[in-house]
């Protein structure tokens, strides 16, 4: 047993005694006379710290490739060892992420459940929250500002808009903090980091499903008939989820590097909300103001948030006709989803190995 261990050290010592390694070691052993024994092969490296070393604690060394790397690297290669914490290839990354799908689902459900577990009303808040939100917007925009003029079925119109927008908004907000707010998790366990932003988006999707149940009741109360087109809500949600997850991953990477972005996002998102026609009708505005520059209409209508909101309205509200949608709306919706989803995923994966540096 002991001799086994000795041979291991003998090997380490061999590596150390290579001239290129020695150069490095000598630099670190400037203080002589502290070597106990010196007869042993492992050559322990005790040395008294000097004042200059103290400063080194706070500074990085010049990043030079150490000359000895080739030796240990060769040993590693010979035994088929892989670099720890290296970024996996994209297909491998996707495979690992898929392997963790149960964790992603369990984590998002757990987050959702934990959210209201201390409240007396408990999970009722899942539905109450969006409803109260919609009531506030109705009071301000519907009653006080009279945005509802000329918009048929204004309450369903508004509530659908608020719910669908909230999905995108909360997904992006939680995505921004996905890495920076979970450093403990990132530093403690090994899993593809994309699991975090995706899991948070999934949590918001579950939240939205609660809201959709409330929405169905509201629609029926306000006399919107059940129609086959309600099925279209499913593809619309799938596309929106893909888009949200993609943007979340982009924001997660940015937020991991610059946590300040989390402070900025609420303002960006509020601006985005006001131009997305959540509480007013874009096509209504365009038909009333013919003096607007010609690019305003297409830009407003191609805005992904507006596209997903209007698709949902088109699916659920019978008075919201296809004529109020921009041309090729499904194509635009799919395009945004693919662009954000695939682009965001690759962008996030590119920095996989850097997450957790703090």
């Amino acid at each position: 047993m002991r001799s086994d261990v000795d041979s291991a050290y003998a090997h380490v010592a061999t590596i150390r005694s290579r001239p290129d390694v020695r150069k490095r070691e000598e630099k670190r052993e400037e203080t002589p006379g502290n070597q106990p024994g010196g007869s042993r092969a492992p050559a322990p490296l005790p040395h008294r710290a000097k004042a200059a070393d103290v400063s080194q604690v706070l500074h990085t060394p010049p990043s030079t490739a150490a000359p000895a790397d080739t030796d240990l690297a060769a040993l590693a290669a010979r035994h088929g060892l892989s670099v720890s914490g290296a970024r996996p290839t994209l297909p491998e990354y996707v495979r690992r992420l898929w392997a963790r799908r149960h964790f992603i689902a369990a984590f998002s459900t757990a987050k959702l459940t934990a959210q209201y577990s201390q409240a007396k009303l408990g999970q009722v808040w899942q539905v109450m929250n969006p409803l109260l939100n919609a009531a506030v917007y109705y009071f301000i925009f519907g009653v006080l500002l009279q945005t509802k003029k000329g918009v048929p079925d204004y309450v369903p119109f508004l509530v659908t808009g608020v719910f669908v927008w909230t999905f995108t908004q909360s997904s992006i907000l939680s995505g921004t903090r996905a890495i920076s707010g979970n450093l403990g998790l990132v530093r403690a366990l090994h899993f593809p980091r994309a699991a975090l932003p995706i899991s948070f988006c999934l949590q918001q999707l579950q939240q939205l499903l609660f809201s959709m149940a409330a929405l169905a009741v509201i629609l029926l109360v306000f006399g919107v008939p059940v129609a086959v087109s309600w099925v279209l809500a499913i593809p619309a949600l799938v596309l929106q989820f893909t888009f949200n997850a993609g943007v979340s991953m982009i924001m997660a990477r940015l937020g991991a590097k610059t946590p300040d972005i989390a402070q900025l996002m609420p303002f960006v998102l509020r601006t985005w909300m006001y131009v997305s026609g959540v509480m007013w009708s874009i096509d209504h505005l365009l038909s009333r103001h013919n003096d607007l520059p010609s690019w305003v209409g297409p830009v407003l209508q191609a805005n992904p948030a507006a596209v997903y909101i209007d698709l949902m309205r088109f699916a659920l509200i019978d008075s919201f006709h296809a004529s109020r949608l921009p041309a090729h709306v499904w194509l635009i919706a799919t395009g945004w989803a693919l662009l954000a989803g695939v682009g965001g995923f690759i962008y996030f994966w590119k920095a996989e190995e850097t997450y957790g540096r703090g």
Partner: protein, 281 residues
């Protein structure tokens, strides 16, 4: 010792650290002139002004190289803040290295699951969540569920596993965490100190479990301040001091030096040096 020729292929290396440097960057230490101006400075001039603008770099591990072999139990010792846990996290691939490389055989795992658990959820759901977070499949978690609960002893005094974790005493929380973390088998196992907590009987059980894990794992790293547990479990010791590998050798030899060092100078880093070079922090 002369009869031992350096053998390369007889023992299989499982972890190779090759000149590893680990650097933490800390924002907002107020080291620059006024944090707002410093922040602006940092944004405008990025790299060049990192030091001047209040980003402190903490060089936690400096140029550490070692080779760990299959079947070894390696202790990591050193005074507080000497970089032991940091090095362990880097071996686990959880912290990026600044320079150098760490090669591993398979995926080393850190024994610990605390961060994935949620205090607002029941113990039952936390067992599931923790198991999944460690990379177990749903079937594996189901299979081991009863084992984990029994090991933790949470249900000894009644049906506590269905209560939220925040209602547990801190001892019970620690026991459940350890039980979840220890439920998985590992190739290269990294154990950070203070995992074996709880009362006497649980401590005995967890020590036995760690020995069991050691027997299954290829290589074990143990960070501890308990010289006794290092002597009990490890046959090789790495001594880190202020981020540098100060000694690497058989347990007894290194421990002797280390004990002499800690008895001799309790806080070496804090002592003012007589020949202080004019360096800025």
């Amino acid at each position: 010792m002369a009869d031992h020729t350096p053998l390369t292929d007889e023992r299989t290396p499982t972890v190779i650290a090759d000149g590893v440097d680990i650097v933490y960057r800390v924002n907002g230490t107020g080291a620059g002139r006024g944090s707002a101006t410093a922040a602006l400075n940092r944004m405008l001039r990025r790299k060049q002004a990192e030091k001047a603008s209040g980003v402190r770099k903490v060089h936690a591990v400096k140029n550490v190289s070692f080779v760990a072999y299959r079947g070894e139990a390696i202790g990591l010792i050193g005074t507080n803040g000497s970089g032991k846990s940091t090095l362990l996290k880097a071996v686990a691939g959880l912290l990026p290295v600044e320079n150098g490389r760490i090669y591993t055989d398979g995926q080393p795992s850190l024994l610990g699951v605390n961060a994935a658990l949620m205090n607002d959820l029941t113990g039952e759901r936390n067992v599931h969540l923790g198991g999944l977070a460690m990379g177990m499949s749903r079937e594996q978690v189901k299979e081991r569920y009863q084992e984990i609960v029994d090991f933790s002893g949470i249900n000894d005094k009644g049906d506590f596993i269905t209560l939220p974790m925040r209602t547990y005493s801190s001892g019970m929380q620690a026991r459940l965490r350890f039980s979840i973390a220890a439920a998985k088998d590992h190739d290269v196992l990294l154990i950070d100190e203070a995992l074996a907590t709880g009362d006497g009987s649980f401590r005995k059980r967890s020590e036995a479990r760690i020995r069991e894990l050691r027997a299954q794992a290829g290589t074990v790293f143990l960070v501890s301040h308990s010289n006794k547990s290092i002597r009990d479990t490890c046959d090789r010791v790495l001594w880190l001091e202020r981020g540098e590998l100060r000694m690497d050798g058989p347990t007894e030899e290194v421990m002797k030096e280390y004990e002499a060092f800690t008895d001799d100078k309790p806080r070496p880093a804090r002592k003012p040096r007589p020949k202080q070079a004019p360096v800025s922090a």
